[in-house]
Symmetry: C2
Subunit: 354 residues, 2 copies
């Protein structure tokens, strides 16, 4: 059976589409009353680890908002947990990983043998979601980038200055690379199995990309993203790399990703110019715009569409995750506006093809 709506996948491949597809980072989340209803009964990690609950939450925004893709409900920190760290997630307060990784023996204590068994609930959730979605829209799997995961694993919890991870890379770069290699292999396995379980695309979140200088970013993050992408077993499923706080986009075009997803502080037109047309782009409305009145939401959504301009290769999204107390009515309105207002930017394609 074929996907009924494959706009998202076609845009990832920069193929022609009749309108710009849209989905929203953290679209399955606390801003939805339907999500909060489930959350009342279960804690966050139970929701991630119970395939029936994860599948139901994953599909909610498809039904409620009409987005063009679903993303499996989970958290990037299930990977450090599967590697043996004790994880606690207090929603809206931030996660905590106990006994952070700081030394060679800490790294040696990490598990990289039965991580796939420990993450089985994610693969089960993907399988069930695929079944329940019934090919309406594609399903996106995801992971944190090796650098972003290492940052959490070394810091342990929300840090202001990220001093511990900086100390590691500046004082013990060999150890840092050892840890990054280990995480990269686990992430590659994890993403390969997500695809094998039915994920139609993969997003790698490099949320802490912006902590590093350009040179260090290439050394400690980008090369491991490239490694992961080259190691994922896939059959044409596109890979999206989300980067937050990156200044120099030139280098991202060659990392192996099909799509680069950027935050709202970068102008899409500039990003297109810098990255070139080797990859598609995803983004990048300021999540806070969803607090504004409808006219402003429309104006800014159209600005984003104009900024990317004519042609395919754009997936509409926010520049970061949706904020927890946004009104779902505004989100639904954004989805409708993008669907309607983007059509004109794709007519051009058909003209030039004829």
């Amino acid at each position: 059976m074929e996907l009924q709506n494959n706009l998202f996948l076609r845009a990832c491949k920069r193929q022609n589409v009749e309108r710009t597809p849209i989905w929203i980072m953290r679209q399955a989340g606390r801003y939805l009353p339907e999500y909060r209803k489930i959350r009342e009964k279960y804690d966050f990690l139970t929701m991630c680890k119970t395939p029936e609950l994860a599948a139901e939450i994953t599909i909610q925004p498809v039904d409620i908002l009409g987005v063009d893709a679903a993303i499996i409900f989970s958290d990037i920190l299930v990977v450090p947990e599967a590697m043996g760290m004790k994880l606690e997630i207090i929603e809206n307060k931030g996660p905590k990983l106990y006994e952070p990784i700081r030394s060679e023996s800490d790294i040696k204590s990490l598990n990289n043998t039965d991580h796939l068994e420990k993450l089985k609930y994610v693969f089960d959730a993907i399988k069930l979601t695929k079944k329940l979605l019934n090919e309406r829209v594609p399903l996106i799997g995801f992971s944190g980038s090796p650098w972003t995961l290492m940052t959490y694993m070394v810091e342990g919890n929300g840090s202001k200055n990220f001093i511990e991870v900086k100390k590691l890379i500046y004082n013990e770069p060999i150890l840092a690379h050892k840890l990054l290699n280990l995480i990269s292999d686990v992430v590659s396995d994890y993403l390969s199995m997500q695809i094998q379980s039915g994920a139609n695309a993969i997003q790698i979140f490099d949320t802490w990309a912006g902590l590093l200088s350009q040179k260090d970013y290439e050394e400690f993050s980008l090369q491991y993203i490239s490694k992961v992408i080259s190691q994922i077993k896939r059959n044409g499923e596109p890979v999206i790399v989300f980067v937050k706080g990156i200044h120099n986009l030139d280098m991202l075009g060659a990392c192996g990703a099909d799509v680069i997803s950027i935050d709202w502080t970068i102008d899409l037109a500039l990003a297109k110019k810098q990255i070139g047309n080797k990859v598609a782009l995803q983004g990048n409305l300021d999540p806070a715009i969803l607090y504004a009145p409808k006219e402003k939401i429309k104006e800014e959504a159209v600005n984003i569409l104009k900024s990317f301009g004519y042609g395919s290769g754009h997936i509409f999204n926010l520049g970061h995750g949706i904020l927890p107390d946004v009104d779902p009515v505004n989100v639904k309105y954004l989805v409708e506006v993008v669907k309607e207002e983007s059509k004109v930017f794709h007519q051009h394609n058909f003209f030039t093809r004829e």
Copy 2:
């Protein structure tokens, strides 16, 4: 009497220097035992408001580190306080402004008549510091940018997503501009009086520059920085604008600043290319490098010097404030390394001039 060391001022004006000058953001601060000794006896705001203490703290890094400029010990939030807000600063925990500004009547309640009287202790501290410095090095005065000050005034305290200030600019842009204009006028008065009191240069901190899209940055921050710069009464004293988290530097070159100070995530060579040689550049070592061993500090300091390249127009600094628990020995070493290793980058000037 003339300044004994005017390297910093000459570099701000892109005049020839025999070596690159260096000072360090937040150089008068908690990492120094000499500072902590005073801090044991007085709270942070008392230290800011007692000219004798502020002057002593301001001069400490000149004596201890041998930096090429002093910066008056104070805090950007003394401006909102002078405008009538109740301020509390818990060092290393962040500031709190009570009864944040959210409405037209909140804005009307702000004071913009006797702000200079209320800030008299800053001007007195500058006068006393100038006297005690005895023209050894120049003294820098400073303020937050209107956008950065507004962010604090609207949020009230450390915010994760800066939702309140975003709501203000997206929902009530006219009100936001009213507040920004008010702050700009107060900041202009404040900086003019700092110069009149003896400050040899001014730095405007736009710490929250990175919250905004490019378009919004121009509208809500950069135009007010330009306004302030055009309104400061000065007699050749250079103005430095520090921006954190900015992606597109092109637009900064024309804001009226003599120097643009950037964070460590941007390569200086790229910044030079983007901003052009209309202004000098300041920066931009990752503050966390000061946790590394000496060889690494030297390597990275030299990388920064190389990245800027030959010629004047570079002031060495960190990319953000120094971190509170850095070893002063490492900071002193950085200052020495920059003084020594930068000479070669300025010989070129003399050759081409001869």
